[in-house]
Symmetry: C2
Subunit: 260 residues, 2 copies
């Protein structure tokens, strides 16, 4: 059967979901999205999606991208895809921001050239009352300048084995970290890494390690030592999922630009 492929930009609150990928133990973003897509087709076809980043349980997104294949004969438009998916995904905290038709050679996952994440630490004594599900609450004061210096060791192309989940399925542990901005505003510290792609848990493991440098447990050179060790046990803790956002996925040409 001939197909038409559509890219969608997705925002979601990962709280209470099991993450991107379908799992028996609970509701995933993938399941909510694909079931909504099937409802657009009156449940006459099985619709599969491919995503740019398979985020973990509790992780959020402002700019996740996925593609969906529909039968070619359906009279779909960007507006129909957006409105239809948003309607059928209610009341879940998942929203389609934009849609755009793409070539069948185009893949949300493999065509992506850059991925941007944001990790947020709330650094103060008092527990959060606002943004409870959007931060990692750290009571011990963190030295932002020291974390900024430590992050420089991670920039560039490295074997990131030390920052990789044991369950990571990537063929190679080599990644190139292009940017890693760290800054503070009020009591919030923002970590914004950017790379073509990341290993499983890489962002959270990097943040967990920087936190242990920022609170004085380790000197800033420890970031270099850990990288050299190529051993997951050498690195710091895996920062909680709750503070992590997939903010943007970049493609050679924006698949959404003329669509809305």
């Amino acid at each position: 059967m001939d197909i038409q492929r559509w890219a969608v930009k997705i925002e979601y609150d990962g709280t209470g979901l099991v993450g991107w990928q379908r799992q028996k133990k609970g509701l995933s973003i993938q399941q909510v999205l694909e079931e909504a897509a099937e409802k657009i087709c009156n449940n006459q076809y099985k619709i599969n999606s491919i995503t740019a980043g398979r985020t973990d349980s509790g992780v959020h997104a402002m700019g996740q991208v996925a593609h969906l294949d529909f039968p070619a004969h359906l009279p779909l438009t960007a507006k129909k895809i957006c409105d239809g998916l948003n309607h059928y995904m209610k009341p879940h905290a998942i929203a389609i921001l934009q849609a755009g038709q793409v070539d069948l050679q185009w893949s949300a996952r493999f065509t992506a050239v850059q991925r941007k994440y944001r990790y947020v630490i709330l650094n103060r004594l008092s527990r959060p009352a606002l943004n409870t599900n959007y931060v990692w609450h750290v009571r011990k004061p963190l030295d932002v300048d020291k974390m900024v210096r430590a992050a420089q060791y991670l920039l560039g192309q490295h074997d990131f084995t030390s920052f990789r989940a044991t369950a990571c399925q990537a063929n190679s542990p080599i990644r190139k970290l292009d940017r890693f901005d760290i800054y503070k505003k009020d009591d919030y510290i923002y970590f914004e890494p950017e790379a073509r792609s990341f290993l499983h848990h890489q962002v959270r493991n990097m943040v967990g390690t920087l936190k242990m440098i920022g609170d004085g447990y380790w000197p800033e050179e420890q970031a270099f030592t850990i990288l050299q060790a190529k051993d997951r046990k050498a690195a710091g803790i895996n920062a909680p999922a709750t503070g992590l956002f997939l903010t943007e996925v970049i493609y050679p040409t924006d698949p959404f630009i003329e669509q809305i």
Copy 2:
């Protein structure tokens, strides 16, 4: 009985609460705070609080300030007040950020010299998946520059009767609006007014009016016309509580500065 007076800085998520003031119909920030303060005293004393801003149901705060009077003989410290109140206010989304002892002449309400609010509009077609309780979702595109120009009519000292709730208890409708910054970041539009004090619903009525100017319903000069009318019916809609935050209350000297 001799008393000691303590100022506290409070963050809260107003979702699901009836607002600052005690009400029979539901739980208020005042009730949660005062009951926690009484638990610090083993429920042997009735503790009353006075606040800088009696926020409405659904309104949030990053920097609300209140003062509490305790019996003078209790061995209280800023740390004991913070930790004790935060402990007993669990699991409510209300947190004490700082505490500081103040003179008995000092009032969280009457000593305040400036109040700052932030109102957040999410301006895009798709419903919010993130920050659902922290924005007013407006689908129609708003002209930010036009709202910035319209807001200039409201700056300075005016009779704000048109922007005042009918239930407002203030003696005078005259207020001096010192600043009103309006700017956009991604799909979020921020409105940040600043004044010694505001009338009841003034911020939400000003934002509701500016929204109706920004979406083209009114020309920007309508802000001036409405102000001149001195009639609540002349102004725009009351923007929903959900997008409003009390961000900061300023005092001649910071009561918290040396406390934490």
